[in-house]
Symmetry: C5
Subunit: 98 residues, 5 copies
Amino acid sequence: MEIGKVIGNVWATKKDEGISGQKLLVVNIMKNRQQKKDSLLVAADITGAGIGDLVLVSKGNSARQAVGDARIPVDAAIIGIIDSLELQESDSKEDGGT
Amino acid sequence: MEIGKVIGNVWATKKDEGISGQKLLVVNIMKNRQQKKDSLLVAADITGAGIGDLVLVSKGNSARQAVGDARIPVDAAIIGIIDSLELQESDSKEDGGT
Amino acid sequence: MEIGKVIGNVWATKKDEGISGQKLLVVNIMKNRQQKKDSLLVAADITGAGIGDLVLVSKGNSARQAVGDARIPVDAAIIGIIDSLELQESDSKEDGGT
Amino acid sequence: MEIGKVIGNVWATKKDEGISGQKLLVVNIMKNRQQKKDSLLVAADITGAGIGDLVLVSKGNSARQAVGDARIPVDAAIIGIIDSLELQESDSKEDGGT
Amino acid sequence: MEIGKVIGNVWATKKDEGISGQKLLVVNIMKNRQQKKDSLLVAADITGAGIGDLVLVSKGNSARQAVGDARIPVDAAIIGIIDSLELQESDSKEDGGT
């Protein structure tokens, strides 16, 4: 999985019926604790995440498992809101999203 | 999923029968709101998107779900035309495709 | 899918039986109309493509669909020879492969 | 598979039920023997790996095979703790994780 | 598939039972005929490849097909030892691995 920060929302009226009802959040994937990758990812959210949250993103078929129906044509899903992230470099425990 | 801008069309007479009848659009994937990634992606379109539209692209097996038949050998599909994209950086709501 | 230019052939005597009989072409994936990505891709070809052709490449499970047997362990396949590619930047229609 | 170094732990209370009980480790993927890629990967661990261990990471559907249940929506799993890595450049046999 | 050069071996005692008995080789993926990508890939080998060999690597579910059992959690496999690689740029036929 990847670690990302939720930075926005996206809406699409004309879309595949399969994704109707899916809440779609825009996520920036983190390269490390401070820096984001220069790419935008849209993930279906099943955890109630919001803007600013640090989240766990799963991609590929696993994303379709997460939304509970393999026919739903998503390829990325938020599967967790990170409470805390303990990384060896900084040796300090940091709460997710603060 | 990724966010992309439709920039063109591609035609192929000699092709896998499985993709006959599929409308294939050329999409530039967006790195962020202003910049495109330096790569071309071809996606099957089921939403009626056109040149200049900002679209949602799903890849891998999810793309085959989107076109409705897992035997169709596409690996990318447009699953939505973006109406609006609200990103935290700019804090301004921007209509898709303008 | 990705757009690539066929630049060569590859032969392997000692190989997985599953790919015996598969024609394997070396493809450079295009970043944009003029530039190639700095990476080599080998794809099974089912369309009769040849060196210099601009082709459509599908990857992952879709490639196994294209070669007609999910047990064949290829992860990339040429699924079309591009006749023409119409991109918004250049606003000019260009024949594939010239 | 990729070679990575375990650098931390991640916890998420609000998460997909499917990943409850999974031990999630943060891994830096190695570019070569000395350098890490500038990206963070979170992998489910089934081998008992710990911080500082050099590990084998498998991604995609294979990760769901490793955790023993294809419904668990992980897309990366640690499938081995590396004892030793023998690379031609250095021509010297080096124990994993030292 | 990708073209890579075998540069080493990796051993792991503590590992997923599913990969017991799999011969794991470290491969550098080639960007072009001369240059390697700056990343290490570990692939299950079923062809008898050795250090210095130029090989064909298949990734994802295709790798599990190559090792003959979809429950084996590998995501990359060597599916051929390249005898010769004919690339248009150099217009010269070059034996693999020399």
